[in-house]
Point group: C2
Chain length 478, copies 2
């Protein structure tokens, strides 16, 4: 076994796999090719950097290149893998020094995704940003900082695209921003840009924010954003960003609104175009098909992270739900497998949390009825609102729980929680229930914690389970 | 069925049963006998009343007597049941008007517990309080209030023992308090009495606070109390409260410390002495033996709440763990059963949460190795400390998770969590895992929520599971 374990992509999945492999098989070689400059950074932290709550972009690095080398991993930044010869077990690499072939013993594709901008005309204008690369975050921060406050050391960071950031540091400071898309990125960036004193307009084509969280969460988050000065435009698609060189206006279905900055957050797409000529199977989303060990359709080739499918906890079917924890976990499992111990990558329930100012929300599993129906379930949902603490205890806040279950089996399919008092983290209870295929009746009988500062006697989750459970009976008698 | 459903005790279990029964069987009679004046009150809220965070004791009532009557429940306060004739299905009731016999169709014993004080000599002195009755809480509040600030309307509440409270309202305001016992009550009352500007000494005979939470929690809570000015005396038993009429000093194993107030919180005992002459089986703790439906050893007689055993989630054996949620749930189930639909009372994992100033903790299941061993397990534990949020996100706080598992089956047996940032409510994830008999490996693979403001990529629970899981492997190879 003279050829190394080759990993394409130096972020969560790739470096989790590399680290685990290096620990488990210290005598074998592992090489990571990263086409960019940044490695091992926290995507999810970028909005907080833009808001000003994280001092340096470098704080978002989980591992520095030095840490990575110290683990016995050969890291090659600015090396782009452009092709794979799965017959000869070899990848084609392009780098400053030219192109070369790198043979592999095992190969992990962990190339992540990229922000989609194509449907929005003008998304390449100046002052149109996405929140899917560190350079874009750095440039956005620079554009928001008055020249008198600009800290030039921000462009001397080892990894940053200094030309880009320097250019934005000298542009006029924007006052009005259009955020295109009301998912996580849009909601988090609305908070961030308000925090930078911009007048913020958020445009969302569907009729609610955060569709994967369900309507009760979307409504609460929209109200919270409005309360903090964001203008939320629902059912308003953006067709075009207009301007000569820089963004000057946003054109929606119904109006043209002058803005001087735009942030596009309408989703991501797997970075798998370079697989087009290979036998490695992908699906329409662009995601790579994998089995329970992260193996692709081709021998010795694995895939993990935002570019790959995983098994869905509830449906048992392949799903593409790009999330940080599952990228880390799948990478770690594949590192273990390649080192010799077959290890499952685990399933994904799509458990996620989001914060908007003082409001927080969590979601897991299948909430939406259409999604549940197309997975073969007969969904029924219930939404309740109750206090987060004993009513007499100061600080109790409305907590809204939505549960979706299957009418036949009475099994929980998914749920969401929204509120301002410790609401998001409560979703982990529902995520655990989903993992264990619990019925709503079992959920209702859980012995959860009760203490006046943290929960009423009947926790909001128990109240929701009780009410939904009553619906099954009703339906039987009715 | 002409005789009513008779319930002894008008608190959580009794009134949950009565309410559910009245709703399910509206044509049948239900009578609740309560020996005292207060009904349906939140025990767990009393420390916060004493601290001054709850305005009125009446805020702690879940239901008023009027609410209860409105539900179709016949409520008889100041009616004490002193005996049961299980042959003739009748109880003996003592009330102001004399003694009478009340026949029953079904009977629920929901008499709760009382604070233990007997081992402490002098616990009947003035200014020696417990925190297990509303009158005691009212009297303690009165004793802590300077006469100039005293609100006389506090003694005109419908239920309160006005003589007692009036008397305490005129006693000199204490300055130094001894709290005897370092369980929930002791810890919560330490915070409350510091909040009332007392110099507080907390005495605990074992070598850690909150033994059911395990040592890592006890240590963190002790440090927090000390930081807020409480003097914590561990391994220090209190033998005696000394004084002529009022508490003047506390005598420990090693010293006599002058204090002018004492709060005894060393545990409770079921109110089941009146069953001594009956065939209703109790165990040494005084708790009533029940089956999965809350049925006692005698036909048509049920028991629930702090006076009764329940099945333990982890051991499957009967356990006496008096807690608010289980009292409510068992009462509700028994109300349903008596109304005609056999319903299990559910199991108890001993899930609980406690707050001390800005520190919060939760616990569930079997944590202690002795307890786990005597239930037939081969316990192994791991304690980890990690951040509550992504390291770069402001407000991340140390979160300490302890997991105990069985070495053979690798199943989770119990755990605790302590920290200042949303730590307590995370215990519900472990409670759910216990309910579902999860292994530590399954726990490690849970798809929990990740978002920088709420959790690092690997939630503290996942980190603990990962480390403990590694211990199984070690032990196999070692």
């Amino acid at each position: 076994m003279s050829d190394p374990f080759v990993i394409v992509g130096g972020d969560a999945a790739g470096l989790s796999a590399a680290s685990k492999f290096a620990r488990e098989a210290p005598k074998q070689d592992v090489v990571v090719f990263e086409k960019g400059s940044w490695v091992s950074y926290a995507h999810c932290g970028m909005p907080y950097y833009v808001k000003g709550e994280v001092d340096s972009l470098e704080d978002l690095l989980t591992l520095t290149p030095a840490d990575i080398e110290e683990r016995g991993i050969e890291l090659r930044r600015h090396h782009e893998v452009t092709g794979i010869d799965t017959e000869r077990n070899s990848v084609t690499v392009e780098a400053a020094g030219g192109q070369f072939e790198q043979p592999y013993d095992s190969l992990l594709i962990a190339t992540g995704g990229h922000a989609i901008t194509a449907p929005i005309e003008g998304a390449t204008l100046e002052n149109a940003f996405t929140m899917h690369s560190m350079d874009s975050a750095a440039a956005l921060d620079a554009s928001l900082t008055p020249p008198s406050d600009w800290d030039p050391s921000k462009t001397t960071l080892e990894f940053v695209d200094a030309d880009l950031v320097d250019r934005y540091a000298t542009t006029p400071r924007p006052e009005t921003a259009a955020i295109v898309g009301g998912g996580y990125v849009g909601v988090e960036m609305a908070e961030a840009l308000v925090g930078r004193d911009l007048d913020v307009h958020l445009f969302q084509r569907p009729d609610a924010l955060l569709p994967p969280f369900g309507r009760p969460v979307g409504e609460k988050i929209a109200a919270t954003l409005e309360n903090h000065g964001v203008t939320v435009h629902l059912e308003t698609g953006v067709d075009e960003l207009r301007g000569d060189e820089r963004v000057e206006a946003v054109a929606t279905d119904s109006e043209v609104l002058p803005v001087d900055l735009a942030l596009v957050g309408i989703g991501i797409r797997p970075n798998t175009e370079f697989l087009a000529e290979t036998a490695i199977e992908t699906v329409e989303s662009g995601a790579i098909v994998t089995d329970e060990y992260g193996r692709t359709s081709v021998d010795s080739v694995y895939a993990a992270g935002d570019c790959a499918q995983m098994e869905h906890t509830v449906t048992g079917e392949p799903a593409w739900i790009p999330l940080g924890l599952t990228a880390n976990r799948a990478g770690r499992a594949i590192g273990t497998t390649v080192a010799g111990t077959l290890t499952e990558t685990g399933a994904v329930a799509g458990t996620a949390a989001v914060k908007a100012f003082d409001m927080e929300a969590g979601r897991t599993g299948l909430i939406d009825h259409e999604a549940a129906q197309s997975a073969g379930f007969d969904p029924i949902s219930e939404t309740i609102t109750t206090a987060s603490r004993s009513g007499y205890y100061p600080g109790a806040a409305d907590t809204t729980v939505t549960l979706t279950a299957d009418r036949q089996s009475e099994k929980l399919l998914g749920g969401s929680i929204v509120g301002s008092d410790r609401a998001a983290i409560r979703i982990d209870t529902l995520a655990t229930a989903l993992d264990q295929d619990m019925t709503v009746g079992e959920l209702e009988r859980l012995d959860l914690a009760y203490a006046p500062p943290f929960s009423p006697v009947w926790d909001p989750i128990l109240v929701a389970a009780k009410v939904l459970n009553g619906r099954f009976d009703e339906d039987v008698s009715g």
